[in-house]
Amino acid sequence: MDDLYREVIIEHYKNPGFRGELDPHDISFEDENPLCGDHIRIDLRVNENEVVTEAAFSGHGCAISQASADLLLEFIIGKTLDEIRQLTKDDLLELLGIELGPVRLKCALLSLKVLKAGVYGLGEASDSLVEGD
């Protein structure tokens, strides 16, 4: 049996460390997964060296999408924007530590997609930001 709902996921879902909004922020982006209605907004504050100092997410959705956002923000604190641009699908899946079918993969990747679209300053979040391996 898969361990999609291993404790760390449930823990981050029920008691997220980074839920909230940052106002003012340096970077903010939001998007949703039309398939299931999962919605994520991410706000970042970065210092003059482009290092992320603070991060928060808001929105709603399934445990996978919300826990993934929380784990992701925990991971990027102290990273540079350039390092964030290099993040891949595999990095995120490693953070989550689970295997996902194609439908739930979209839930997991939503936060990474939103994050990268924000960091790249794009008008629209594209699947190609998190695909391609």
Binding site: L4, Y5, C36, G37, D38, G61, A63, I64
Partner: protein, 409 residues
């Protein structure tokens, strides 16, 4: 009416024997999305391809004649199944969606002008919304919606008021794929006709599950899909009254739908061929016909009664779980569909964890976003039943939900 011999029926469906996880047999509670197929339907198509496959209507060799006969027999069989008087009133399409689009493009564009009113309902599937939105946008047609009450019924008083707008068309689902509500189709149609409107019934959920008779209903158009009634994918039906179909312009152009073609103009064929352009899905029609035979051999009354029993039991059981909120009316007003939310877990997580136990349900908006907006919830988990569903499967569902609560509680 005898209860169904479920044990025997389940043996007809090979997929129900599948083990999803070691020791966990498939509990398929997603028949509203698509029904499983009995062996005789699978074999009918298999036999068609191994023995009779040919293109139809224009061949003199035995394969072409056999294929033509099988295809036209399927048409007659489907006509009989819904009580149509004339097989020419049956048009084969890909699915319900294409059938409704056919009406929106052909009847709609020929008959509706700016300012004309179409009445729909708040519980429609996207398939019975978007084609009319496209038409409304193109032709400045006005869409109005019969509201849904808190307990999942159509507000018939509001409907009567809307009829004073003198609508040209009333299009509604006979059974909601989310709430399960079985709407009073006969009454809705009678009132529409009194107001001078024609009617289209989305029968995607009703035709597979309850007896439907187009003459009794006096409906003008009825759309449904083979894949939800034990038949194959790629096959759907539009029933239309002869008088309407004959006056409608063609929809798709191409082979078979014509009587004569010159370089710059054509003369259309007679119905139903006028609406079937290109090589049709013959094997799929053969499969649908086998599905009709299968359903007839059991009896639509018996099927409806069986589903009523299962859904009553499911409501009873699910209502006992704290935190479960069920959408739609009570068992007496609905078919075999139960959509619900659980306070502590998202529908996707519910479905995923159920699936760990071999239980296939669906989570999401079920192609009815406006209805979910109406209830201000983004998604629900849906269990849906059919001939092969059992009380034990409902018990599995309930046990699965206990697991969900254990994980998220």
């Amino acid at each position: 009416m005898n209860p169904l011999d479920i044990e025997a029926i389940r043996k007809d469906f090979p997929i129900l024997q599948r083990e999803i996880h070691p020791g966990k047999q498939l509990v398929y509670l997603d028949s509203a999305a698509t029904a499983q197929k009995p062996t005789r339907v699978i074999e009918a198509m298999d036999r068609y391809y191994r023995w009779s496959n040919a293109n139809i209507h224009r061949g003199v060799h035995v394969l072409a004649e056999e294929a033509t006969m099988l295809y036209e027999d399927a048409r007659r069989n489907v006509a009989g199944f819904i009580g149509a008087r004339d097989a020419r009133e049956i048009i084969f399409t890909r699915n319900t969606t294409e059938a409704i689009n056919l009406v929106a493009y052909s009847w709609g564009r020929a008959n509706l002008q700016a300012g004309d009113v179409i009445i729909l309902t708040e519980m429609e599937h996207h398939s019975n919304l978007v084609p009319w939105q496209m038409l409304a946008q193109e032709r400045q047609v006005r869409l109005e919606f019969i509201p849904v009450t808190d307990d999942g019924l159509l507000d018939m008083e509001e409907y009567q008021k809307l009829l004073m707008l003198a609508p040209k068309l009333v299009a509604f689902t006979q059974m909601s794929n989310v709430l399960g509500t079985i709407n009073p189709a006969g009454e809705i149609i009678r009132l529409a006709h009194d107001a001078g409107a024609i009617t289209l019934v989305d029968g995607a959920q009703s035709v597979p599950h309850i007896p439907v008779n187009v003459v009794d209903l006096d409906v003008d158009f009825l759309a449904f899909s083979a894949h939800k009634m034990c038949g194959p994918m790629g096959s759907g039906v539009l029933y239309g009254k002869t008088a309407l179909l004959e006056k409608m312009p063609p929809f798709l152009g191409g082979g078979d739908m014509i009587r004569k073609v010159m370089l710059r103009s054509y003369a259309p064929n007679s119905i139903p061929h006028k609406f079937e352009a290109g090589t049709p899905a013959v094997a799929e029609a053969v499969g649908l016909s086998a599905a009709v035979d299968y359903l007839n051999s059991i009896g639509m009354d018996a099927i409806a009664a069986h589903e009523h029993e299962i859904v009553s039991y499911a409501l009873e059981q699910l209502n006992q779980i704290p935190g479960v909120r069920i959408l739609g009316p009570d068992a007496d007003r609905k078919g075999g569909v139960v959509s619900f939310t659980l306070d502590i877990a998202h529908p996707h997580d519910v479905a995923q964890i159920l699936y760990r136990h071999g239980i296939a349900v669906r989570a999401g908006h079920h192609c009815a976003m406006p209805l979910h907006d109406r209830y201000q919830i983004p998604a629900t988990t849906r269990a849906s039943f059919y001939i092969y569903s059992t009380r034990e499967e409902v018990d599995h569902l309930v046990q699965g939900l206990e697991q969900v609560k254990a994980i998220f509680g």
